[in-house]
């Protein structure tokens, strides 16, 4: 049988993910040290990919397992199994508005009937405002949503925040929290069944490691 393929998100989650894998006894020594994207290690083949792609790889069975933030899963709506909360990479989806402009934008909403919301996460934003019954126009931006209210592109933003420092530096305040996010161990549903003997013990060990932290 082929190696179990395990996709890891490059970027901020990678050091914690590697620490977790090391802690449960996997050899991750070759990962992230050079430019290789596919790194075999014993019975496992690690694959490095952008966070947004991990869910796609796992959903389509190109990878059997993955570690990726819940935020990415919420935005992608990929059909994967979430097996364990690994508890690192904590961040929050929030609605934020210019610190002094909350009242003004609510007044605008009364008069104009709609708010403009800039975000990198249109699916999460749309779902949230639909649930709240607030009429919004989503403006999709590729980065730095916190810029949007300052230049008049949008009234509010929906963004992912870890510490809130970026919001504060741009004079934005949290209006409400949409959801919290941490890293998740995910599996392709078919692979989880067919390779349960390999995946289940690994998932248990990672869950136990996360619970003990």
């Amino acid at each position: 049988m082929s190696r179990l393929r395990f996709a890891l998100a490059q970027g901020v989650l990678l050091p914690d993910a590697l620490a977790a894998l090391r802690a449960v006894g996997l050899d991750v020594s070759g990962l992230g040290e050079d430019r290789r994207l596919v790194v075999p290690s014993g019975d496992i083949e690690f694959v490095l990919a952008r966070p947004g792609d991990i869910a796609t790889y796992v959903e389509r069975g190109a990878a059997d397992l993955g570690i990726v933030g819940k935020d990415v899963l919420m935005e992608s709506a990929a059909r994967v199994l979430e097996l364990a909360d690994l508890r690192f990479g904590a961040c929050r989806f929030v609605v934020a508005a210019p610190r002094d402009a909350l009242e003004r934008s609510l007044d605008e909403y009364r008069h104009l009937g709609s708010l403009e919301v800039a975000t990198k996460y249109p699916r999460v934003a749309e779902e949230h405002f639909r649930r709240r019954g607030i009429q919004v126009e989503i403006v999709k931006v590729a980065g730095s949503a916190e810029l949007a209210p300052q230049v008049g592109l949008a009234d509010w933003i929906v963004d992912l925040v870890a510490t809130g420092a970026t919001l504060a530096a741009n004079d934005l305040a949290v209006v409400e929290e949409i959801a919290t996010s941490t890293a998740r161990l995910i599996a392709n549903p078919a692979a989880y069944q067919l390779r349960r003997n390999e995946i289940a013990p690994l998932a248990l060990r990672l869950a136990a490691w996360a619970a003990a932290r």
């Binding site: 796609t56 979430e82 349960r196």
Partner: protein
């Protein structure tokens, strides 16, 4: 130039692929027929019903001229439920229906997803109990085997057992937990159960139940597990097949909400997605005003085809195609007729699309004789023997 490509998510199926799909359709049709299933052909377009369980976002829907909302059918099961409620309202006994037909789903752009693809399946309406559940399970296993698929396993779960594992919770919490499981989110499911006050012991029992697959199911002590095991044993009596094709597996909680009892998915090592899925859906017909027991399955034909292809399967060899180079028109017509009368497959002239068929070149000579590529001149009878 007009745009020649079909709309997004639709495509042409060219002869090589179409021949393979026909071979699959034929094998499935024979197997369904052998279990007493008869074909049914619901319409391509159905009314959109508010609570039919279909995800409205994924319907290809449009307004009819009278203002009613209609959609290209997203599956056949819902259409059959509607049809049974309308046409077989008073029928008693078992209704065994089969189909092989395209379904339509709106898919997000850029994922390479098709909006139209073939589904093949059966619905067994009326009977309930282990033998009925086992029948559709065995029929799925036998259908895949008769198509030539090896190494498929069918994972068999039980939605009722999973619900009972969370029976300590009130209705709202229990529904939220099951919703999370349907979405594949075990993290949220168990967190919600714990937050709702489910005791540690019960939580651990539910965790163990959901993790049980294969033999470990014997340790699970929840009502319905025995029934699940009995169904698998019966199914294996109905169709022996490869050893251990039926695997009890309680982690299986399908995305669609209308399932009530035994559920199953066919998996294959070459496919990242289930090839087929089905189960007992006793609540769906009730939504159309005719509560009836029902179970069935649907095979995704493209996924089955892909798994077959990647395992090295090719359709059984058909008779070679004789490409007949014409001489005079009358003589050519007579030779073609003489060959076809002897069961030879003949195309006059050069063949632009061989669709994977073996081509035998032959040129009309005179008086019902042809010259082969190697220069031999043979009669229609001799050629018929050579290519049969």
């Amino acid at each position: 130039m007009p745009i020649l490509a079909p709309p997004r998510g639709f495509r042409d199926i060219l002869p090589t692929e179409a021949r393979e799909l026909r071979a699959i359709e034929h094998a499935l049709d024979e197997t369904f027929t052998s279990y007493g299933y008869v074909p049914i052909e619901p319409p391509m377009v159905e009314r959109v019903i508010a609570d039919s369980g279909a995800d409205r976002q994924r319907l290809m829907q449009f307004l009819d001229r009278d203002g009613s909302l209609v959609a290209l059918r997203p599956d056949i099961t819902t259409a059959v439920a509607r049809l049974v409620a309308q046409r077989y309202r008073d029928a008693t006994g078992a209704l065994r229906l089969s189909y092989f037909a395209p379904v339509f789903r709106e898919e997000p752009a850029m994922l390479g997803a098709e909006r139209e693809y073939d589904q093949a399946g059966v619905e067994l309406v009326g009977p309930s109990g282990p033998l009925a559940d086992a029948e559709v399970l065995a029929l799925l296993a036998e259908s895949l085997a008769r198509c030539g698929l090896r190494d498929a396993t069918i994972e068999v779960g039980h939605v009722g057992v999973v619900r009972r594992a969370f029976a300590d919770l009130n209705d709202d919490d229990s529904a939220a937990v099951i919703d999370a499981l349907r979405a594949g989110d075990h993290v949220t499911a168990f967190r919600r159960a714990a937050d709702a006050g489910m005791r540690d012991g019960a939580l651990a029992r539910a965790r163990n139940a959901l993790a049980a697959r294969g033999r470990t199911i014997e340790a699970v002590d929840i009502d319905g597990v025995d029934e699940l095991r009995e169904v698998i044993h019966l199914a294996r009596d109905l169709f022996a097949g490869e050893p251990l094709w039926g695997v009890p597996n309680l982690s299986l909680v399908p995305e669609l909400p209308y399932y009530t009892g035994v559920v199953f998915e066919a998996l294959h090592p070459k496919s990242g997605f289930p090839i087929a899925a089905g189960g007992r859906y006793d609540l769906l017909l009730g939504a159309f005003g005719t509560p009836r027991r029902a179970t069935g399955f649907a095979i995704s034909v493209p996924r089955l085809h892909l798994a077959l292809f990647q395992s090295g399967w090719r359709p059984a060899r058909e008779r070679a195609l004789v490409s007949l180079a014409p001489a005079g028109t009358r003589e050519t017509a007579q030779v073609a007729a003489a060959l076809r009368a002897r069961g030879v497959v003949v195309a006059i002239g050069a063949v632009a699309e061989r669709a994977g068929l073996e081509i035998v070149d032959a040129a009309v000579v005179a008086g019902d004789r042809v010259r082969m590529a190697d220069g031999r001149v043979v009669t229609a009878d001799e050629l018929a023997r050579e290519v049969s």
